[in-house]
Structures are given as C-alpha cells and as structure tokens.
C-alpha cells in the first residue's frame, strides 16, 4: 500500500530519471498547492461546523423512541423486552457495546441484526418482514430500522466504546472482519484498505479515516449513524458498509449478513475506548 505514492514515477528502466523529475515537480508546485489546500480545508471545516447547529437526525431519534415504546407486530409487543446486551430493554450504553455474542441466537450481532431478531422473536414478524426496509427513502418509504438505530445510538452518546472480544465467536468475527478489510475484488481491485489504510488521505474533498489506527477507527466508528446531507436521510453503519461495497464495484452486501457483522465487529472493536458521539451529521 505504502508504495502507491511512488506510482507515478516507477517505469522500469526510466524509473530513476522519472523519479528525479517528479521530485523537481513536487518542489515546484508544493508550496502554492499546500496553501490552496489549507484554505479549502478551513472552509470545509467551517461548513461542517455550521451544520452542527442543527442535526435533522433528531427527527429520526424521536420517531425511533416512539417505535421502541409502542406495541407493534402480530404479538403486539414493544422493544421493552428486547435485550441489546445490557439487559432486557436497557438502551443506555447498548450501542457502545455492540456487536457482541448473544447466546439466545448463538451468533454475533450488530444493533440492526439484533433489532431484527427482537422484531421476529418478540413482535412476531417474519424475518422477511423485519428486514424489508433497512434503508429508507423519503416520506413514503421511511425505515423503522433506521429510526430505531438512531434512537438506540443516541442513548450511547458520551459512553466509551467497549466492544467485547471474549467469546470465541466474537474473536472469530473480528478476525474474519480484518481479513475482509483487505479483500480485493471486483472490476477495480478495491478493498476497504484501498481507501482506509493510509494516513491523511482524502477522496475528492472527503477525508478518509485510516481505519488501521485506533484514532482513525475511533473517529469514524463513533460518528455513525449519521444524517447525510447529500441524501437528506439518516444512515446507519450497515448502510455505510453497503454503500462502500457498492462504490467498490462489488455486488450488493446483504443486510445483517456475516460479512457485514464481521466488518462491523472489526471496526467497532478497534474504536474501543473512545466516547461514542452519534448520530452525527455528515456530507
């Protein structure tokens, strides 16, 4: 990966000559470019700061809080007997401790997978009904799962990430997640690591967290779910993975699948120790 910075200059026998030329080129343009990039960076920072004034994610949180308490489904049950890992119906701090292994399901689950589990077990929905609409669009197709995730996540604000790695299945999910992070495929050879394995990089103007460092994983993971202004929607971490893979030119990541949970486990665990700070607002 590190070698990629030399990409433009390496050319078989012409290698050395070109490298020397590139050095001259960098010296010539570095100063004004650095200044330009700095001012662009400052203005983008101002833009992001202005957005913090009011985060429409609160509209989702409010709807999610209602959904949590109301009785729904064939069994007319609320989520108040749903165990997110901290005890029946305990929401506070739950998101900061997920994913984790659940004995009742004999599986490692992230929040969304667990919500689906509770909808099936407690509320009596079929699996298909529960997973029907993971990512909403507009007023006509609102996603209950996104609203619930926004609410549950908001109840971990300020709580330090403490994802367990005790059960063998938790360890397995973490290690599989790490492996998948480096998996290159598709038409473009992209892996998660292509964009998220180096320090201080950006795509277009968007900063890319280096998810291989604790600081990078913490900064990234603790700010999802987030209201995406580009879509006018609240998006969950499952969506973040789904859309990364879409842009990686992979086929479609299945909601709540083993790969989705394993990658979430890998990244959430790497964020341990950092105070959770979402739902956030992002581009």
């Amino acid at each position: 990966m590190r070698r990629s910075s030399a990409d433009a200059s390496a050319a078989g026998r012409g290698r050395t000559k070109l490298r020397a030329l590139l050095a001259v080129l960098i010296a010539a343009v570095a100063a004004p470019l650095a200044a330009q990039q700095r001012s662009v960076g400052e203005e983008i920072a101002k833009y992001r700061a202005a957005l913090q004034e009011g985060n429409p994610a609160e509209l989702w949180e409010a709807r999610g809080a209602d959904l949590w308490r109301q009785k729904h489904g064939p069994k007319q049950a609320s989520f108040e007997r749903c165990d997110l890992g901290q005890g029946l119906g305990v929401v506070h701090g739950a998101y900061a401790g997920l994913p984790r292994y659940f004995a009742d399901a004999d599986r490692v689950m992230d929040l969304e997978t667990r919500l689906v589990w509770c909808m099936v077990q407690l509320q009596g929905y079929s699996e298909a009904e529960a997973r029907r609409n993971p990512f909403g669009s507009g007023n006509d197709k609102k996603s209950d799962l996104e609203a619930l995730a926004a609410y549950v996540a908001s109840e971990s604000r300020g709580v330090r990430m403490n994802v367990p790695l005790a059960h063998p299945k938790e360890v397995e999910a973490y290690r599989v997640g790490e492996k998948l992070f480096y998996f290159r495929g598709g038409t473009h050879d992209f892996a998660c690591a292509t964009c998220h394995g180096d320090e201080g990089k950006r795509i277009r103007l968007q900063d890319l967290p280096n998810l291989m460092t604790a600081a990078g994983a913490q900064r990234a993971y603790t700010t999802w779910p987030a209201y995406r202004v580009s879509q006018g929607e609240l998006r969950t971490f499952e969506w973040r993975l789904y859309d990364c893979f879409r842009q990686q030119r992979f086929p479609e990541l299945i909601f709540g699948s083993d790969a989705a949970v394993a990658l979430t486990m890998f990244l959430a665990r790497n964020a341990n120790g950092a105070p959770f700070d979402a739902p956030a607002i992002k581009r």
């Binding site: 433009a8 012409g14 070109l18 998996f183 990089k201 890319l208 086929p251 299945i254």
Partner: protein, 216 residues
C-alpha cells in the same frame, strides 16, 4: 506485428498468471493452518453475504492471482521477489495500440477524469464509465475537489516531457498499474476492461498534451 486475437491474448495472460501463482508458491506465501482456516471462514462469509445486483454479479468476488496475493499481504509490503513476479505478470497483459499511437483527445480525457460513474451495481450498464481520476489525484488547477490517495499529477506532462518512452509508460500505467507497482491502489483500467483503448489514449493525452489543463 499483426494484432492477436483476444482468445490468443487470454491464453497468454492465463499462462503468465499461472506462472505468477507458481512464483508465489516458491517465494514463500505459505500460510499457517490458522491462517488457512481463517481464509476459508472469510471466503465463506463473503459467499453468503452478497447477492447479485444490477451489472454486478457474484463473479466479482472471484479473485484473480493479483488480487489474491495483494489481499493476503494484509497491507504489508510484498516480498521483493513476489512483487517482481506480480509486476512481471501484469506487464505482460498490457496491449499497446497496434498503430503505436497512444495520445488521444485530452478534452475527452478531462471528462473521463471527472466521471465517477461506471461498473457500480447502481449504474446504468449502458451509461458512462469514467476513470474518476480526480477522486484520487490532483490534475488541474481549476478543480479543487481532488483526492490525495494517489500523487498529484498536476504539471505531469510539463515535467516528464512527452517523449515516446514517457508516452508508452503513461499509457501502460493506466492500462495496468500493477505492472509497475505491485499492489498499487490504482485500478487496472485496461486489463480489467473498465476503459477502452481509445479512452486510455484520451487520458494519456490529458496528462501529456501541452494544451491540457494538467500542464497549465
């Protein structure tokens, strides 16, 4: 040299890539049993976790030898010999235009450099496919929204000149980046059929033409 049929090319490429697999075995990519088990678990997770969508079938999860080798490295640099073998195998895949002309239309190249669509399952299969160069590289003064995953290519032609060797290298680099830097982050635009020969010519012109915004 007469142009070879695509079948012939595929055979040659297949042979080279098999050669690579052999080289990797020899140069010691042997995995511990734990690693092997983990790799199998990861493969199983992948297989059950994706579904075909739009133009993206599950075949996109089938890795070629280059992808497999770079994935296994897990972000660490390859052993010298492995890297050399991988570059060699990829170098052999580059098809230069039969007429020898590698410079196209830089204006179309600029459009391709800006175009981010193509090959995603959400993209219209008949729609545009771009190089999306600005996502990772600075190219011109005017476009402020450029990425930094790759090096800045602003003034690339001005500093490299536009001699035959540079032209050939530039075309080849876009065609198959792995031929020059093993496990590069850059897609293999020609080899993987993302861009056509003409489109790669246009991008080569964008980088080298003195009139292109890259060199202003």
């Amino acid at each position: 040299m007469p142009p070879r049929s695509s079948a012939e090319r595929a055979t040659t490429t297949g042979r080279r890539l098999r050669g690579l697999a052999l080289a990797l075995l020899v140069t010691g990519c042997a995995t511990t049993p734990g690693d092997q088990e983990l790799a199998e678990q990861a493969t199983a997770a992948l297989k059950s976790s994706f579904k075909p969508a739009g133009q993206a079938g599950l075949d996109r999860l089938e890795q070629d030898e280059t992808q497999r080798t770079c994935s296994a490295a897990g972000g660490k640099p390859l052993a010298k010999e492995t890297a050399a073998a991988l570059e060699q195998a990829n170098l052999a895949t580059i098809r230069y235009p039969v007429d020898g002309k590698v410079l196209g239309d830089w204006k179309n190249g600029e459009k391709l450099a800006q175009e981010g669509r193509g090959k995603q399952f959400s993209d219209d299969p008949g729609g545009p496919v771009g190089g999306n160069c600005y996502a990772c590289h600075q190219l011109s003064k005017a476009e402020l929204a450029f990425g930094t995953i790759g090096p800045s290519l602003y003034l690339y032609g001005k500093s490299h000149g536009a001699g035959a060797e540079v032209q050939r290298y530039t075309f080849g680099k876009i065609y198959n980046s792995e031929a020059f830097v093993a496990c590069s982050n850059m897609p293999r635009f020609g080899y993987k059929g993302i861009l056509s020969e003409q489109q790669i010519r246009d991008l080569t012109a964008l980088l080298l033409d003195p009139a292109s915004p890259v060199n202003q």
